[in-house]
Symmetry: none
Subunit: 421 residues, 2 copies
Amino acid sequence: MTYISAALFIIGTELTRGVIADKHWQVLASQLTQLGYRVDRMVLVPDDGTIGEVLQECIDTCDIVILTGGLGPTSDDLTRSIVARMANVPLVRDQATFDALYARIGERIWGANEQQTMIPQGFAAIPNPYGTAAGFRGIIPEGDREIVCIAMPGPPREMDPMFFDQVLPYLAQLIGHDDFARSEYSTFLIPEAKLDELCRQATFNGLQWGTRFQDLKISLYLVGGDDQERVEMAKRLESLVGPSLLVEGDVMPAQLLTDLLVARGETISCAESCTSGFIAKLLTDQSGSSAWFYGGAVTYANEAKMAMLGVNEETLQIHGAVSEACVLEMAEGMLNRSNTDWALSVSGIAGPDGGSNEKPVGTVWFGFASKHRSSMAVKVQLTSYGRDSVRRKASVVALILASQYIKGACLLDTVKKWQYI
Amino acid sequence: MTYISAALFIIGTELTRGVIADKHWQVLASQLTQLGYRVDRMVLVPDDGTIGEVLQECIDTCDIVILTGGLGPTSDDLTRSIVARMANVPLVRDQATFDALYARIGERIWGANEQQTMIPQGFAAIPNPYGTAAGFRGIIPEGDREIVCIAMPGPPREMDPMFFDQVLPYLAQLIGHDDFARSEYSTFLIPEAKLDELCRQATFNGLQWGTRFQDLKISLYLVGGDDQERVEMAKRLESLVGPSLLVEGDVMPAQLLTDLLVARGETISCAESCTSGFIAKLLTDQSGSSAWFYGGAVTYANEAKMAMLGVNEETLQIHGAVSEACVLEMAEGMLNRSNTDWALSVSGIAGPDGGSNEKPVGTVWFGFASKHRSSMAVKVQLTSYGRDSVRRKASVVALILASQYIKGACLLDTVKKWQYI
């Protein structure tokens, strides 16, 4: 059987009530289209009894049905039993899924979570490293046709990696892309629409791409061609966006810095004003972070900058808190008080209020001090899409620049080449 | 005929190919839900011949079908002729629409734009002040049922005003808009599956509910009944989960604390170990936070606790960093160094490593100190679903307990009554 026509089937009452917005459609539709599938319908239904009827319509007309949602532990999460009914098989426990979940949550598995380890008999479980509900894929016979049915959990942080790592390669194989190959990159600080536009400029020899927005980075998948072609496209892209904003692999911004510190056996501390603890939080997201992280000062008020870091009152009066002089005193104060190898500091205008002509919202100063290198400060003007976006971007910039500082780079040069932050 | 069940039907090949993201679903779904309609399916199809077939399925099962897209001037924009065929009427020119468009574009109307002035006979045109395609609404007879069919253009800048100004009032009238009511609550620290289970226990008189997971809280919507019944259900729920974990309205955990501080004109500082800056970040998410937030110390390493907060070395040696004695010294040290009205501290085992039989992963101590009240410390044992979940929950607990401390509550009593955190 040739598989071409695909239906996307998304389940969630919170979606049909308009309480939350769907995040999957575009990612799934664009990836399927790039592989050569024709997406003939996308259907969104509430978590209720009508699922079966609408799903039957998809099965009647399409070769592949991809479902997301309806795999949670609550009573209205019906996907697995409806797919089993369509395939005319019972639900059975997938032992590997059960064992993996038991290893994580122990006796709490009994009750609602246990049913999340059940899949339709004859289907293959798809492991879910980021949640409790396994996905599954298998065949629903329909007359002389064999419909491929794939079910994934609804939350994007669970579905995205499951789709890209486990489902997409399978779909590529199914449609005959023997040469399906892809490389993953991580990009920082570049807006998704801009990244797409730049990919159109940088592509060649029919290379395709897909992007996935993930918290503090955007993953970029280059698809097709050979290894060398994908590397060449990545190089072209990097020359368009500027240094350090595109790296190979699945890398969170904090890892740029912590991998370096671990390799060198060194430690860091941070003094934060506008990011107010968020950099410290990112530096301790991984277990074992006491190896590289000492601690930090969140000096939101000017009095805190003076009391906790020894910033001079005159500096604040003459230059203001968002200034080269202030971030240098913050970083040096932090270094002296902490006895770490490296210290970073941040002070900026997060907005939405507090900007001026001279220092508009998005103006952020970064300071760095060290036992190993002379102190350094650099200013970045971030495009503001709101307070949260300025604070998150400033945190990412601080992490990238700190790793460049440790490597001995000239921060002014780096920042000057950034095109689209 | 009673109109309750609605289908949203969106047409556009650029959507099913994933080239652009849909912008209508959530707006339409939430508005319809608020009016009291039940959105039973949302379907997205390409601009091709299959539209009729899928539309027929919607007509077979729903009372109202709202279409967007497929009204443009290009040859693959088929909506109007398919609706006319379903209603078994010819397409006719709507003279008012023609005249309005002629007044704007003159002789250019002849050709592709002329067909945009055609609507199914017997339907009412819906003027489009922002584009060339008129919308329309009318009845599709289906046996003894009369399906309401509404078609709007796809571009958001045309559809949005048409929907809000002309379609929404019509839909409100159609459903009577009288017995529709709901209340929103915010819940903290209760797993979604457990909340659903508790709602089943607490409901009465046919009250319905819905939940929405949002970062650090879960919104709970109680639907139906009268105001008093919804308040009663909320009270029952609160008695099941424990105090302070369910509040009226759309409230983020940090607001519990910051609203209180603003009302009192007071300030806070925080000393964080395991949450490592995340509480400071949450307390500054809102603009204007310098009114209530001074700053904080992120004392991840033991040396940082001593150097930055004056915690005694003996305290750390005898009791460890995760102890009543340590969080009390942290909170008091923070208060003394900051001159704020209130100070909070947190120290716990975030995991996944570092737990012991005595202090398993999820053990977190919270300390509070103030000019206005004697110092207090309390231990909470959080159910661990991983490092990130422990740190996020600990941050929410700190914010809730700090607001209780300021209000003069007995924190030990509060914590003892929490059932499912």
